[in-house]
Subunit: 134 residues, 2 copies
C-alpha cells in the first residue's frame, strides 16, 4: 500500500545520494557536453576503470544517465528527468530565482559551482580539465 510512496521516496534517495559524490557530479558535468564511452569517462580520473563503472551504474540506477551498448562500447548520456524531479522537490522549499541561463552560462555555472570537477576529481597533474570542451 505504501509501496508507491516508498518507491517515490526511494527514487529521491537514489538521486540525492548519487549527487552527493563529487566524482559523480563531475561525470554529469562531463556528460553535459557530450555523450561518452565508459573508458572516456574514466580517463580524466585517478581511480580505476572499475570504480568509474560502479559510479556510472549508480548514476544510471538513479535515472540520471542512460546507457546504451553499441558494439563493445557502452555510451553514456545525460538524462535530466531525474534531476528535474529532485529540482521540483527542492522548489517546494521556496521559489529560487529561475536562474535563466543560456547554454554557455549553464556550462560555466556547472563548472564553477561544482568546483570539484576540477579540483577533487580530476587527476592531480592538472593534465586534462574535465570538460575539455572550451
Amino acid at each position: 500500500m505504501n509501496a508507491r510512496i516508498d518507491a517515490h521516496g526511494a527514487q529521491l534517495d537514489q538521486v540525492f545520494a548519487a549527487l552527493a559524490d563529487p566524482t559523480r557530479r563531475a561525470i554529469l558535468t562531463m556528460l553535459l557536453e557530450d555523450d561518452m564511452a565508459v573508458t572516456d569517462v574514466a580517463e580524466p580520473f585517478e581511480m580505476s576503470l572499475a570504480a568509474i563503472s560502479k559510479h556510472l551504474t549508480i548514476l544510471a540506477a538513479a535515472g540520471l544517465i542512460a546507457q546504451e551498448k553499441r558494439g563493445r562500447v557502452k555510451w553514456c548520456k545525460l538524462d535530466p528527468d531525474a534531476l528535474r524531479a529532485a529540482s521540483v522537490w527542492m522548489q517546494g522549499f521556496g521559489q529560487f530565482e529561475p536562474v535563466n541561463l543560456d547554454a554557455f552560462e549553464r556550462f560555466l555555472a556547472a563548472e564553477l559551482d561544482d568546483g570539484s570537477a576540477t579540483a577533487d576529481a580530476a587527476p592531480s597533474p592538472g593534465a586534462e580539465q574535465i570538460p575539455d570542451g572550451h
Copy 2:
C-alpha cells in the same frame, strides 16, 4: 589553492548527502510549516531522540537548518540558502520550468513529490505511518 573549490564542492556533498535520507527530508518538510524544538521534531518518528538529534546535526552542518538554543529548548528552523545553492547547481543541467507555486501549493508539491512526506512527515493528521524503522 583549491581550498575554496574544495569548500564549495564539500558543501554540495553535504547538502546532497543530507537530502539523500528520507527521515531528513521529512524533517525539512515538517520545518516548512513551523519552527520546532528537537523533541517535537522527534515525536512523529519511531526512532530514538538521539537519532533525530544526529539527523538535525547533519542538516545543520549542511546549512539546511539553523538551530538556536533558548533556555533548555533548541529551536530548529529551515534555512533555504543551502537548498538554493544545490538548486542552482542542478539548473546547470537544464532549465526546469520555474514551478511558480504559492505557499500552499508549495506544501502540496513537497507532499506529493516526496511521497514519503505524506507518510514520513505529515505530522498532524493523526496518522502515525512514520517510516517504521528498518
